[in-house]
């Protein structure tokens, strides 16, 4: 297979994966953080609005108590506000902020362990009327989300950072503060568990 010709599958399954999308220029974010470090509240609001959606998603994956999500998100951004002057730029700004959030979430989970799951959640589907194919897809989606719920927080974090946030394994290793091989192993086991959870419906997914 040639690097110039990434279409490797006769079935059309494999395609050249998307190259890393353009993120906001690091220099822009650095400039914003420098203003935050100088106490510029307007710059901090801008930074907050840049990161709040991403952090909400990440923390929703990690924490099962909704009230903790807001608390941890605010605590994370307060650390950013208070320690922006200490950011030295050895990693990406996003890595630094996500790592703070991960540590804060970990501490919150020690204080407030995950609630016991609702035993009736299994098999529960939306009562909204929907065409068969939508209903079928929703069942698959629900089974995937339930499988996610059964993973440990560490595994959920790696899955979310990979699939939703589109981060590479090295950046994830920095965020969750573990060796890259551990990230790969967690991801390997997590997706195996997800695949098992989808079970016989796998063919419908492909």
């Amino acid at each position: 297979m040639s690097g110039e010709s990434p279409e490797v599958s006769r079935s059309g399954i494999l395609r050249r994966p998307r190259t890393e999308a353009a993120r906001p220029p690091a220099s822009d974010e650095r400039e914003l953080l420098a203003r935050v470090a100088a106490g510029d509240l307007q710059a901090f609001e801008r930074l907050y609005r840049l990161y709040q959606p991403r952090l909400s998603r990440f923390l929703t994956t990690l924490l099962r108590r909704p009230q903790l999500i807001e608390e941890v998100l605010d605590d994370t951004m307060m650390v950013v506000w208070q320690t922006a002057d200490r950011f030295r730029g050895s990693s990406k700004l996003s890595t630094w902020i996500f790592a703070i959030a991960y540590r804060k979430a970990h501490k919150a989970r020690l204080r407030w362990p995950d609630p016991v799951e609702d035993p009736e959640q299994d098999g529960r589907i939306s009562e909204d009327p929907a065409p068969d194919d939508e209903l079928h897809h929703q069942k698959l989606h629900d089974s995937l989300m339930r499988a996610m719920d059964q993973l440990s927080a560490d595994h959920r974090a790696v899955v979310d950072l990979t699939y939703f946030h589109g981060l590479g394994y090295r950046e994830i290793a920095e965020i969750v503060d573990c060796p890259v091989d551990t990230v790969k192993t967690r991801m390997f086991h997590a997706r195996r568990r997800l695949k098992q959870a989808i079970g016989g419906s796998l063919a419908d997914w492909l």
């Binding site: 999308a21 822009d28 086991h189």
Partner: protein, 211 residues
């Protein structure tokens, strides 16, 4: 619910197998990618696994928790709270109410919004999100609305918003729309920029004025 132990005996049959998720998301460097592609050439199971990875990625990106800005709450921890901003014009609240209706009404809402917004792109909305949201309050500082193309990567979303100087202050609605805040003085330019972005399906002002 009891959690099965994660099977520790199972391990990857090739180092490349562990890299497949990041191959699917395009996050491998050249060395890793070459290694994976070399393995894929001779491993049918891993080729199928890549398809599964892409499906998972798409599924994870199809839902997102409702974003409600907590800026006022956070700001109160830094500064004393200030007076609440003035109420928005009625048409704003009306549109927001339409766009934040529960999923069961999504198609009707999309058609109605088509009339209100005057943008053809909403019509192409065919599949509602499944999580049901209540009618959300109007974000006080919102002045534009945007819809992204399906499966748009989060980084692309950020890049598009950054380029336009826009921030998400609400959404997603059940129509899949987000409401934005942009500098009112630069809104027309910001909307033109968003409308020209390939990741964006629709970008409109939401106080009824034409950009």
């Amino acid at each position: 619910m009891p959690v099965d132990p994660i099977p520790s005996a199972m391990s990857a049959h090739d180092p490349a197998e562990e890299l497949l998720p990041w191959y699917a998301t395009g996050q491998l460097d050249e060395f890793d990618r070459a290694r994976v592609e070399k393995h894929l050439y001779s491993c049918e199971a891993c080729r199928a696994q890549v398809a599964f990875e892409r499906r998972l990625m798409s599924e994870f990106r199809s839902t997102s928790p409702q974003v409600e800005s907590g800026w006022a709450r956070l700001k109160a921890r830094i500064d004393p709270p200030r007076a609440a901003p003035a109420a928005k014009p009625p048409i704003f609240a009306e549109l927001w109410a339409i766009l934040s209706r529960p999923a069961v009404a999504t198609l009707a809402a999309a058609q109605l919004a088509l009339i209100v917004v005057g943008g053809g792109a909403l019509y192409s909305l065919t599949r509602p999100d499944y999580h049901v949201l209540g009618s959300a309050p109007v974000p006080a500082d919102a002045n534009a609305i945007v819809m992204f193309q399906p499966e748009t990567k989060e980084a692309d979303v950020q890049a598009a918003l950054n380029a336009a100087g826009a921030s998400i202050v609400g959404g997603p609605t059940d129509a899949g729309a987000y409401v934005l805040h942009v500098d009112p003085a630069k809104r027309s330019a910001a909307l033109r920029r968003l409308q020209a972005d390939s990741a964006i399906r629709l970008a409109q002002p939401i106080d009824g004025t034409v950009p």
